[in-house]
């Protein structure tokens, strides 16, 4: 599926004017608080009827102000996880979860109730009312309610913000699987890790305008956008493919820069994956280091160096045509190692975060 | 079937008693709707299913008559009443001294002087005696005679002008003067049968029963003057 969106609206104190195309997969809306992310999502859901705009999902025109088209929200079959939970206070958790099901076409395929509640850890709460839930519990029920409504498009507005890391780790793979099963997702998140892990496409918003939009890999590798993407959180995404499992259980992945070993990944050889590499997790060495605990050492050469005013720099290391890794170093290290564009070097990776790539995606 | 009687509310005590006797004798049970004469007249004009109307005032009966709804020849002035001055203190009053007896804060209770019959008669009588202009500022007008009586009975107003029939039955008040019959138009309660009622025969029987000595005795015990004996 593909989502085309253009939207102009003036709230008086804030005006928004954005347009972007979201291909198949997860598209992340990223940007500071008040940038207009929720506004965009509301327009897709049909909760905001913008002054000017057009929204086309998979060829269906949901909105076209020029042509006077406006499809009512209930006919869009959208699963919307709101920024605040918005649970129905008069219904039990179970009834909240099942609410959307009765309105969805019988034939449409949906998620399994027990699986979803287990994944969200809300199985014990089914008979409670939302008034007696904790903040994170409400957020989880809200996710479940949207997932179980058999949506054709998922809108997630900071769905995991109220959750602990462990719980997030249980929900993220589920969203990955939905994405891989072909469900298009528009995701708002302030966590660059989440975005890098889930999103193929990133739309960077600021002040009601699109600052940058494109494939996640391209945007994340652009040192000039690194600050917009959250400074210390900046990082890159490179493609990888599962090679096999080693005798000690580590899984070997092949990348353009050499092998990478991880503990936790799909084991089917050939599976395409995306590795997210945090810029501040990358150590640079001119020579291949020995005797280190770090197993993952990728060879490449310096492509670009962007110095910060605060004494640090982003170093872009090309490991293949169109594939780069960003490293965040002190300028002292840049000088000490004699790094400059064209210089050959090694990137030493400690941690890699990875997500399964949509096999059909670019 | 059972006849439907529309009767002025002030008739309730007497009429309920007569109706009980009538039922005992004939097995017919009149359904009596008590309300203000004006309301009843308007309802009859609006095609209410009534067989008989007893009004507390001539003018409302005239209205019904003008609408051509009365059974010809059935209209009669059935009852007469007397206008009296009541007070809580049992102390006869010379009506001409009434203005002097009322303190600056005291009120003379009457029914509404322009719309409710008892008030209209009272105003006519006071005017006839040349007392109205002096008394008018002190008059408190109630919406019916019973409310007038209640104002006196509760001590709210020291004096009130009501029908003798009402005064008789209220132990807390005493008749302290009676208005001369010529000081106001005759107080009469006209009765008539209504055309096209649901039970004309039974209604006629009740109409006639009202003239029986037994009925007359009940009416007179309530203080009415029976004109159709």
């Amino acid at each position: 599926m593909q989502l085309e969106l253009s939207l102009r609206h003036d709230f008086g104190s804030f005006d928004i004017d954005v347009a972007f195309t979201a291909p198949k997969g997860v598209t992340a809306l990223f940007g500071p608080s008040g940038a207009g992310k929720t506004t965009v999502i509301d327009a897709v859901a049909g909760l905001l009827r913008p002054q000017h705009g057009k929204v086309v999902a998979n060829g269906d025109v949901l909105l076209d102000t020029a042509a006077g088209v406006f499809l009512a929200p209930n006919r869009r079959r959208i699963g919307y996880v709101f920024q605040e939970p918005r649970l129905f206070p008069h219904l039990s958790v179970r009834s909240n979860l099942l609410y959307g099901q009765r309105f969805a076409p019988r034939a449409a395929e949906g998620q399994d109730f027990d699986k979803v509640t287990a994944m969200l850890g809300i199985g014990a709460l089914l008979d409670r009312r939302p008034g007696a839930l904790s903040g994170g519990e409400k957020a989880r029920v809200s996710i479940g309610r949207a997932l179980l409504s058999k949506p054709r498009l998922l809108l997630l507005d900071e769905p995991l913000a109220a959750l602990d890391a462990a719980r997030r780790e249980e929900i993220l793979p589920f969203i990955e699987r939905l994405r891989d099963a072909g469900l298009p997702v528009l995701l708002v998140s302030h966590s660059i890790g989440e975005v890098a892990r889930l999103a193929q496409t990133v739309v960077l918003l600021r002040n009601g305008r699109v600052v940058a939009a494109g494939p996640a890999a391209t945007l994340f590798a652009d040192p000039s956008l690194a600050a917009s993407l959250g400074g210390a959180e900046a990082g890159t995404v490179i493609p990888a493919r599962v090679a096999g499992t080693e005798p000690d259980g580590l899984i070997r992945l092949d990348t353009a820069g050499g092998p990478v070993f991880v503990t936790d990944a799909p084991t089917t050889p050939g599976t395409a994956l995306r590795l997210r590499i945090h810029a501040s997790d990358v150590i640079v060495s001119r020579t291949r280091p020995e005797g280190l605990s770090a197993l993952n050492i990728l060879a490449g050469h310096v492509r670009r160096i962007e110095a910060d005013p605060d004494g640090r720099a982003f170093v872009e290391i090309a490991i293949a045509e169109g594939q780069s890794i960003l490293s965040r170093l002190t300028q002292r290290s840049v000088a000490a190692l004699g790094l400059a564009p064209g210089v050959a070097c090694h990137a030493i990776l400690k941690t890699v975060a990875l997500s399964r790539d949509d096999l059909g995606a670019a | 079937g059972d006849p439907v009687i529309f009767a002025a509310a002030s008739m309730k005590t007497a009429l309920d008693e007569i109706s009980a006797d009538f039922t005992a004798e004939t097995g017919t049970k009149p359904a009596i709707s008590y309300a203000g004469s004006g309301a009843l007249a308007k309802q009859i004009i609006a095609a209410a299913p009534a067989d008989m109307f007893i009004s507390a005032a001539e003018d409302w009966m005239d209205k019904v008559d003008q609408a051509g709804l009365l059974t010809p020849g059935s209209r009669a002035d059935m009852l007469g009443n007397t206008l009296v001055l009541v007070a809580t203190k049992d102390e006869p009053v010379d009506l001409t001294t009434l203005p002097a007896k009322l303190g600056p804060k005291d009120h003379l209770a009457m029914a509404m002087v322009d719309s409710v019959p008892a008030g209209q008669y009272g105003k006519a009588a006071l005017s006839h005696m040349g007392l109205w202009d002096k008394l008018e500022p002190s008059v408190a007008q109630a919406d019916n005679v019973r409310a007038t009586l209640a104002l006196v009975a509760t001590g709210e107003a020291p004096y009130g002008i009501v029908y003798k029939t009402d005064a008789v039955a209220e132990p807390k008040v005493h008749v302290v003067a009676t208005f001369p019959a010529d000081s106001h138009p005759a107080i009469t309660y006209p009765v008539a049968l209504i055309k096209d009622g649901p039970a004309p025969a039974e209604a006629k029987a009740f109409y006639d029963y009202l003239k029986t000595p037994k009925a007359v005795a009940i009416l007179e015990a309530q203080g009415f003057e029976v004109l159709t004996k």
């Binding site: 918005r86 | 509310a9 002030s10 609006a46």
Partner: protein
Amino acid sequence: MTSALGPVLSAEEWTAVVLSLKVATVAVAASLPLGIWVATVLARSRLPGLWLLNALVHLPLILPPVVTGYALLLTFGRRGWVGQFLDQWFGFTFAFQWTGAALAAAVMSFPLMVRSIRLAIEAVDPKLEQAASTLGASRIAVFLTVTLPLIAPGVIAGMIVAFAKAMGEFGATITFVSNIPGRTQTLPSAIYAFLQVPGGEVQAARLAGVSVIIAVGALVASEVIARRVAKRIGGQ
């Protein structure tokens, strides 16, 4: 029951009690759907002419009851323009029937019912209704599954004030359908009749007592129900 209350109520009064209950219940039940609809329109619609509907609904409150009764008589009486039509086409008439008393009670209590429901609707968070619509619920489904349950306490409150008012309504009823025992004589009409004759106060007080017991019973019951509903909504 008739016999149990025998010492307290005469057969005729007992009939009036039953009739009042019937009238008030039917008045409230029959006007409820319209009341909910009008309240919804007044709360949510932004049409320009709505003030007129609003004024119309409030009229019975503003006018002395006798005026309303008289207006009903002129409209729904057998000679009235609507009454005539109903009579001719459906053989149905309100005039001097208990149904007329119910109509009068419904009209008189309608503004109270609408106000309560409307306030409740205005308190519903539209964000919840939006959430329901994204989950596939049509406007009607949203209303039935979200709005209506959430306004239940307000609807109950509206029903109970309407019921209380209907139990006490007198001016419009007696003017419209008169005071015919067994047919249109409600408790308040019976009380009125007693108050019109000397010595009737005690009788009137007795009937008023019965009226109060019934209405307060309904009131307390409604509070219990409303509390329970509110508790469910509030959580646990």
